[in-house]
Symmetry: C2
Subunit: 320 residues, 2 copies
């Protein structure tokens, strides 16, 4: 099943969020408006808003309240992508030129700041101090994850713990917060929103590991950027960590740097695919997915539980 | 009188804020901790926290409440300085190496993000939705000011309106917010906190114009960076706008670029000082200062009004 078929019953609300996202970044500064829209319109899966909406169904769902949470979360995510691209020296994102390649690094930095600031305007509208606290903590952790990612670049002697902490901070906590704050904004009980947090955390870990696998197993056409981009930029992902346990791969991987060509990278990837590293990575992703599904099974029954399960399964097993 | 003598009665509270600022940026990431502390310890005048504290005296002053506002405002300001330095390619700030020159641009960007995120944790603690709204709007405007500053660099055909809008967004609104949110956090009446906002706005405008004058009239030793740095980086300030009304200066100024030497800049500055541009700039600064003092005169009488007046006069007339 296609992802967006799973939550087609939310279509009207998602459309409203899309409209609000465009309104959110409206600016009297043409460059700011254009740069922000550029990334926003490139799409993305809107995973975070969808988790917000579905989680809110565990309380008194009110789209006017929950909309602010969904927009805030998607804006935080978008802003962090903009800053990521400055760091990664990325030329392409979501199949389009990045802001920094189309404008410049300075514009990209402030466009990110601007989108962050806009997200605060939406957070402000959420009438729940607990939600504010969770979101500000999440942003602090996100920044720590970003800094760690810079420091860990091309650092080939890192271990599994470094990797897991990094993706927790960079990805999982924001998805966890999407679920939790979605639930809080609709007044769901503490036990429920804490469980949704854990569900989101585990889904997020599985999601990121799958993403890191796809960077190696998928094609440039599907990814919108060359395969092996992560490693090329020095980001050591789970399959790469496993690959380095193989002597012949270790010797090649530690030589990767910014000058490594697409062809050389393709050679390394081909050899990786002959080993068990993808399978082992999938197993870890699967482990997190199972944890997520277990949390889900303990939530009160309602009509969205099945949807959350389908989405979790989808993003933990997806091929693109 | 020295600035810090004017509010010596606040010393205990300011010390507490200093301690809280250091605690705020504490991190288990050594580079983040070091980079943040680097700038924070370099000092600065702590103008924003001081305005927060003094404005809070118009309500039920409670240092435990108002501390969060003061720390949040100083952190927002600090974060924006870090990002400024990335943009300005500045090597020195407050007499120290900038974060980007001591580490690199990427670390500087995320250190700024981190300090911003930390500020949110403090904003979250302020129990007043109105305050949250003001602060998020202020941050949006701040970003617009930053973007405008980039776009206006070396754009010699800009006018007074461009300049005033830019310094409003970049400086005045944050000082206005310091005053207003300080007052809101202590439960001061609406009329009072709105007036304090206008006071802060006008003081902020005067403050920034004075700053822009000092960049030309002060020495490298006092400034902690070479005189004329603004113009060298393409920032067209009020005295420069006035100078361009003089044909011989116009012809030299429009040739300024990143390659202009210290000596060439000194030559331009010397000729500027022979004209009326500094005097005219002071007159505008004075006009804003007078507006600020007028707002102040209409506030309820209390023991800090005199202090605010002294500080306003000081920062509008300061020589360093």
């Amino acid at each position: 099943m296609k992802l967006n078929r799973m939550y087609s019953f939310l279509k009207a609300d998602i459309d409203e969020i899309e409209k609000e996202l465009e309104a959110a970044i409206e600016s009297d500064s043409p460059v700011l408006q254009e740069a922000s829209l550029h990334l926003l319109q490139a799409g993305g899966k809107r995973i975070r808003p969808i988790f917000v909406l579905l989680s809110a169904k565990f309380g008194q769902y009110d789209i006017h309240q929950v909309k602010n949470v969904a927009v805030a979360l998607e804006l935080i995510h978008t802003a962090s992508l903009v800053h990521d691209d400055v760091i990664d020296d990325a030329e392409m994102r979501r199949g389009r030129q990045t802001i920094k390649s189309q404008w410049d690094n300075r514009i990209a930095m402030y466009t990110g700041d601007y989108i962050f600031a806009r997200s605060l305007e939406y957070i402000t509208r959420i009438d729940a101090p607990e939600a504010h606290q969770i979101l500000s903590n999440t942003m602090v952790e996100l920044c720590k994850g970003e800094i760690a990612q810079i420091q860990d670049k091309y650092r080939f002697n890192q271990n599994l713990r470094d990797y897991l902490l990094r993706i927790k901070r960079k990805t999982a906590l924001l998805i966890a917060a999407s679920c939790q704050v979605g639930a809080i904004s609709s007044g769901a009980p503490t036990e429920v929103h804490k469980r949704l947090y854990r569900f989101g955390y585990n889904v997020g870990m599985s999601f990121q590991i799958t993403d890191d696998i796809l960077d190696l197993t998928s094609s440039e056409k599907v990814l919108g950027k060359p395969a092996g981009s992560d490693l090329l930029q020095g980001n050591i992902t789970l399959p790469v960590l496993y690959a380095m346990e193989h002597k012949h791969l270790y010797n090649q991987i530690i030589k990767v740097n910014e000058q490594t060509t697409k062809e050389e990278m393709q050679q390394i990837i081909s050899q990786m695919l002959e080993t068990d590293v993808i399978e082992r990575s999938h197993a870890i992703s699967r482990m997190y997915l199972d944890k997520a599904l277990k949390e889900l099974s303990m939530l009160p029954n309602n009509r969205v539980k099945k949807t959350l399960k389908n989405i979790a399964n989808f993003i933990g097993n997806r091929k693109y």
